[in-house]
């Protein structure tokens, strides 16, 4: 497997505040990678930098070996990077079906179309004619993922998959993610639920205060080790 999306020594700032320090990660073709860490660790910043919504001050973002650091977000979609952003960010005045149409507007050729998305996301199919601002949290998240998927990404960046959702809805969403992985789409997901993250991913990174403090395969990392890295308890243990 070859590395599809990778970063090298990223330093990212929010104004004067440094959000990421020397972050280097990679996602292989078809691989599921989990990104874990406490609130404010820089997970969302990392995802939006990968999608091109944020410009790093130092370091590079590479796509299939090519330097895309300066490429704006709207052009990265064509390469095959899609981000389901923090807070879902649906277009509120558009219906669900219209949101999906916008998602498919610059779609690459691929397995996903509106019909297949409705099959894989029963939550979305049920509300297709509703306005996006009249949806529940779970429906919103399902629509947001479906919308990103319609661009037929090779790597899908998913921010806060299960945040604020009922467990039964989270199970449904993860069921849909299985279908996505079945198509050979790479996933980089931010997940608060450590247990679930370790179950689904091939590899994981733990961010602490903007730095990667732990990386590896979940089978090789002990849960205690991950928890310690998550909360920054390394020195104490």
């Amino acid at each position: 497997m070859s590395v599809l999306l990778e970063t090298d020594g990223l330093d990212v700032f929010h104004g004067h505040l440094q959000a990421l320090h020397d972050v280097s990660i990679g996602v292989d073709e078809g691989e599921t990678v989990a990104l874990v860490g406490a609130n404010g660790a820089g997970k969302s910043t990392l995802l939006s930098t990968l999608a091109g919504a944020h410009r790093p001050r130092r370091g590079t973002v590479r796509w299939a070996g090519r330097d895309v650091t300066a490429l704006p977000a709207h052009r990265r979609v064509r390469l095959g990077v899609s981000l389901t952003p923090e807070g879902r960010r649906l277009f509120p005045s558009l219906t669900v079906a219209e949101n999906l149409q916008v998602g498919a507007w610059k779609a690459r050729p691929g397995a996903w179309n509106v019909e297949r998305v409705y099959e894989a996301f029963p939550l979305v199919a049920g509300v297709r004619d509703r306005r996006a601002d009249a949806l529940s949290g779970g429906e919103r998240q399902a629509v947001a993922i479906a919308r990103s998927l319609l661009a037929n990404p090779r790597v899908l960046l998913l921010d806060e998959v299960s945040l604020g959702l009922a467990p039964v809805v989270v199970d449904q969403l993860y069921g849909s993610l299985t279908a996505i992985r079945g198509e050979g789409t790479g996933l980089l997901l931010v997940e608060q639920d450590l247990q679930r993250a370790m179950e689904v991913c091939d590899r994981m990174y733990c961010l602490l205060e903007g730095r990667i403090v732990l990386a590896g395969r979940p089978g090789e990392l002990g849960r205690d080790e991950v928890v310690a890295a998550y909360f920054g308890l390394r020195g104490a243990s």
């Binding site: 091109g52 979609v77 952003p85 277009f91 558009l94 219209e98 149409q101 916008v102």
Partner: protein, 286 residues
């Protein structure tokens, strides 16, 4: 009385045409373009100069003026408004107000303060008889039809086409639209270009029916704002209805005494502000 009513509806078409671009730009980008009136007059000067001074035939000069103004709109968005939109909500009104002053003075410098109008081979005076006692000017019918076609067309485009939905998505949230491959700067530039095209159509139509000078833009902007407020901010059909309400109030008052015409329009506008401040069709597409 009937004559005044019919005239008022047709004048309303003229006002709606002026307000269309303003309403569209506000609806999509939340831009209050205070230079809209001045730009409409600049478009009228452009067409008039091409026809009178350069001798270009009108059927060629008018499309030419529209193309030039579309280009100006594109440039205006890319070079000016793109920046002002990012620097606080008061920056754009201030900058466009300054722009309207600059345009007004440039027109004064180049063309002088003489009043002009645009002649279109007799079309400006030709009229259609409707009944034996009632007839209306061809050009005002044309303008009304143009207003309906432009407002209806924009409405259909925004709600019935994929590209229209992309425009609305960029209007809702440009940064998120970028994640779907939408370059919102291109979308916004196209909207501003189209807004100036409609302003120019309205400016030329005004120049044919009436007369203009470098300061006419200020009055036109006032009518356009009154139209939008009466009709409802961000509603395109509301804009048409608002124009008609304004136009009818003016012509009915004029039927009583011509000097009350403008005053009646302003009074009706103020009445709406008091009684129904969100207009007849409050914001239906945002």
């Amino acid at each position: 009385m009937t004559q005044a009513l019919v005239q008022g509806v047709l004048v309303g078409g003229q006002y709606a045409l002026f307000a269309a671009g303003l309403s569209l730009m506000f609806g999509v980008m939340r831009i209050v373009n205070l230079a809209h009136g001045a730009l409409a007059v600049a478009g009228a000067y452009l067409a008039s100069t091409a026809i009178v001074t350069l001798g270009v035939p009108a059927p060629l000069a008018i499309p030419l003026a529209l193309v030039v103004m579309a280009g100006a709109g594109w440039g205006l968005q890319q070079l000016v408004l793109e920046r002002t939109m990012r620097s606080g909500e008061f920056t754009t009104p201030l900058v466009t107000f300054a722009l309207s002053v600059v345009i007004g003075n440039l027109l004064l410098m180049v063309f002088g303060s003489d009043v002009r109008s645009i002649a279109l081979a007799g079309l400006e005076t030709a009229s259609v008889p409707i009944t034996s006692t009632l007839s209306v000017g061809w050009i005002s019918v044309l303008v009304f039809v143009a207003a309906v076609v432009i407002l209806g067309g924009v409405q259909l485009f925004l709600h019935r086409t994929v590209l229209g939905r992309v425009v609305r998505a960029a209007a809702d949230d440009g940064a998120t639209a970028a994640l779907m491959g939408v370059d919102h700067r291109v979308v916004f530039s196209a909207v501003t270009a189209f807004g100036l095209v409609t302003a120019t159509v309205a400016g030329i139509a005004f120049g044919v029916q009436s007369s203009f000078d470098p300061n006419t833009g200020v009055l036109l902007l006032l009518f356009a704002f009154e139209t939008i407020v009466i009709g409802g901010l961000g509603s395109l059909w509301g804009t048409l209805v608002g124009g008609i309400v304004l136009g009818v109030s003016q012509t009915l008052a004029a039927a009583v005494d011509v000097q009350y015409s403008l005053l009646a329009g302003h009074v009706v506008f103020l009445a709406f502000l008091f009684v129904r401040p969100r207009g007849i069709f409050p914001g239906t597409w945002q």
